[in-house]
């Protein structure tokens, strides 16, 4: 080792973050849990074809519905289990000790972990999307023209991508929440809390409209406060519209995406704030 040039100064922290992210991706790709989840999701999407056969005329809707639901649910499992595992396990098993002694900041660590997880999610969502389109292609090719005439939307419908895009954004929010909890909590508690927020996030719109059923001002303010605190996840659910061939405006996609990005940024900033001050006992 003697006589070599000293390490080059790291030009950008973006490179450090991307290296952490790539490592997260590599590690999670090798985790068997991930394979099981993806395999199961793909199996479910494929078997929706069989289910569709049971109900005449409705089959393509069932396939789309099931396919999108499977992408969403299995994406959720991946976001929670892998997401929490990769951050809290690193703290719990103390692999973070050696890592943080390297020239990386804790902020870079959090961003790197998050980006790696989102990358993992993106690849998985892509795999599930491909499986869904494969089944739909098979349907479109094999079914007769008059049968297809009864469909609300074409079999191989690019509009599905709108729903998948929003599902992906929703998963990115859940991942940010998972990372947030795992910066200060145990893996099991983080998983429970993240799952709880996911559920609450789906019913969040009810809180927004609380003033329609209640007159008490403090109760309305409280409901409003919680509404802004929790993510509004139902906004990311356009499955029904897409499956039934109803339009989803580009403006809606854009504003929802902007909301998602803002929410993720806020949650990650909070996670970094907590993580930067944390003692690793």
């Amino acid at each position: 080792m003697q006589g070599r040039a000293p390490p080059k100064p790291e030009r950008s922290s973006v490179r450090t973050v991307s290296r952490i992210a790539v490592n997260v991706f590599r590690e999670s790709v090798r985790d068997r849990v991930l394979y099981n989840l993806v395999l199961f999701a793909v199996l479910l999407i494929s078997s929706s074809y069989l289910l569709g056969q049971l109900t005449a005329g409705q089959d393509v809707k069932i396939i789309k519905d099931l396919g999108l639901a499977a992408t969403s649910v299995f994406g959720l499992f991946i976001a929670i289990f892998i997401g929490i595992g990769l951050v809290s396990k690193e703290v719990e098993r103390r692999s973070i000790y050696a890592l943080l002694a390297k020239p990386i900041s804790r902020t870079q660590f959090v961003i790197g972990k998050y980006c790696g997880l989102v990358l993992t999610l993106a690849v998985n969502v892509a795999v599930m999307t491909a499986a869904l389109y494969l089944v739909l292609t098979y349907m479109t090719v094999t079914e007769s023209a008059e049968f297809k005439a009864g469909w609300d939307a074409p079999g191989i419908d690019p509009a599905l991508l709108k729903a998948i895009f929003l599902i992906f954004l929703q998963l990115a929010i859940v991942t940010a929440i998972a990372v947030f909890f795992s910066t200060f909590s145990t893996p099991i508690l983080s998983a429970a809390l993240t799952f709880g927020i996911y559920i609450a996030g789906h019913f969040n719109t009810d809180l927004k409209n609380f003033d329609r059923i209640v007159e008490s001002k403090p109760a309305i303010w409280l409901a409003r406060g919680i509404y802004y605190l929790l993510p509004d996840l139902s906004a990311f659910d356009v499955k029904t519209e897409v499956v039934h061939g109803l339009p989803v405006a580009a403006g809606y996609l854009l504003s929802t995406a902007a909301y998602g990005v803002l929410y993720v940024t806020a949650v990650l900033l909070l996670a970094m704030f907590i993580f930067s001050r944390r003692d690793f006992k």
């Binding site: 450090t16 020239p103 003692d279």
Partner: protein, 327 residues
């Protein structure tokens, strides 16, 4: 040239208890200085505050009071970590990475180019004795092998200052010897090595200077020879042909008397009895001197004595006082 490591009044309090938090002082106003090129032993029993100190130096935890510098820079400075290496206690790395991948990952974090990464990883794994196993995932590694990988990752950036937390733990005698050799090599290359251990023979074999911590406080610091030279606590005299009646007389003043062979005894006499006088008396009875050695305080003895003196229980109330003063 600034000191390699400078620690001033470093203190760490933890809040313990679930409902009514009580302060617990894990480290109490520790000050020490390590010069460049030194092999510095940081000694103490389990729970003495060694790992706490190392974690403070690595910014894994933040001090309640006091400050620390490495190579003249505050420990919070991320840039200074390019020049240091750290082996945590009982290290653990990623299950699904191979040894090679782990080191490559860490080399990337230091900003080395691909060719440089490869060269460093390969030569370091050779150096710590990881052969073909380097392509196995780390979850298949034994504890000793993980420890070797840990040492390799601590050296990936060719650091100027190397912190090793219990580097010998979990290693077999061969592994321990390898680590000792490695530390001496690093010293010969002019690196500063700061290592913690509760195994005193390691320090005796390696260190120029040591600090002994007990109960979160500095118990002693300095040259090993100074600490050990404190006391000649007596003399061990081995004599041959000692007659039973003479032995009975000597036994009365000896701290210990061991019969090595018929008529040959090892006698440990306290320093209060000048050995010259005793020897003259013994040789007059026909006994022959085989050897005489001073009985010194070993580091072990020193350690045990100081730990007893300091007592672990004395800290809690003091920590409480400090917290009240802070309010």
């Amino acid at each position: 040239m600034p000191p390699a490591i400078q620690v001033e009044e470093l203190t760490k309090d933890y809040a313990v208890g679930f409902w009514r938090k009580r302060p617990y002082r894990a480290l109490d106003r520790l000050s020490l200085q390590v010069e460049p090129g030194e092999v510095f032993g940081f000694l103490g029993p389990n729970g003495a505050g060694k790992t706490t100190t190392l974690k403070l130096l690595m910014q894994l935890i933040f001090p309640s009071a006091g400050r620390a510098e490495i190579l003249g820079k505050p420990v919070g400075d991320v840039a200074v970590r390019k020049r240091i290496g750290f082996l945590p206690e009982n290290p653990y790395f990623y299950d699904y990475l191979t040894a090679e991948e782990l080191l490559t990952y860490f080399a990337q974090l230091f900003g080395f180019g691909p060719a440089e990464q490869k060269a460093r990883v390969s030569s370091l794994l050779d150096r710590v004795g990881i052969g073909a196993e380097r392509r196995l995932q780390l979850r298949k590694f034994s504890k000793g092998m993980v420890q070797r990988v840990g040492v390799a990752q601590a050296l990936i950036n060719d650091p100027e200052v190397i912190f090793l937390d219990e580097p010998m733990s979990g290693l077999d005698p061969l592994g321990r010897r390898d680590i000792r050799t490695l530390i001496l090599e690093l010293r010969d290359q002019g690196r500063t090595v700061f290592f913690s251990s509760h195994i005193l023979s390691d320090a005796e074999a390696l260190c120029s200077r040591v600090a002994v911590v007990a109960g979160g406080r500095l118990a002693a610091a300095g040259l090993l020879s100074d600490i050990l030279a404190f006391d000649v606590r007596g003399w061990e005299i081995v004599v041959d042909g000692l007659k039973p009646d003479v032995h009975a007389q000597v036994s009365a003043i000896a701290r210990r008397s061991t019969e090595i062979a018929p008529g040959r005894y090892a006698l440990e006499v306290p320093v209060a009895h000048p050995p010259e006088k005793l020897l003259a008396e013994l040789t007059a009875t026909g006994a022959r001197l085989v050897s005489i050695n001073p009985v010194r305080d070993t580091l072990e003895d020193f350690f045990v004595r100081r730990v007893k003196e300091m007592g672990a229980g004395a800290r809690a109330p003091e920590a409480g006082e400090v917290v009240r003063a802070d309010r």
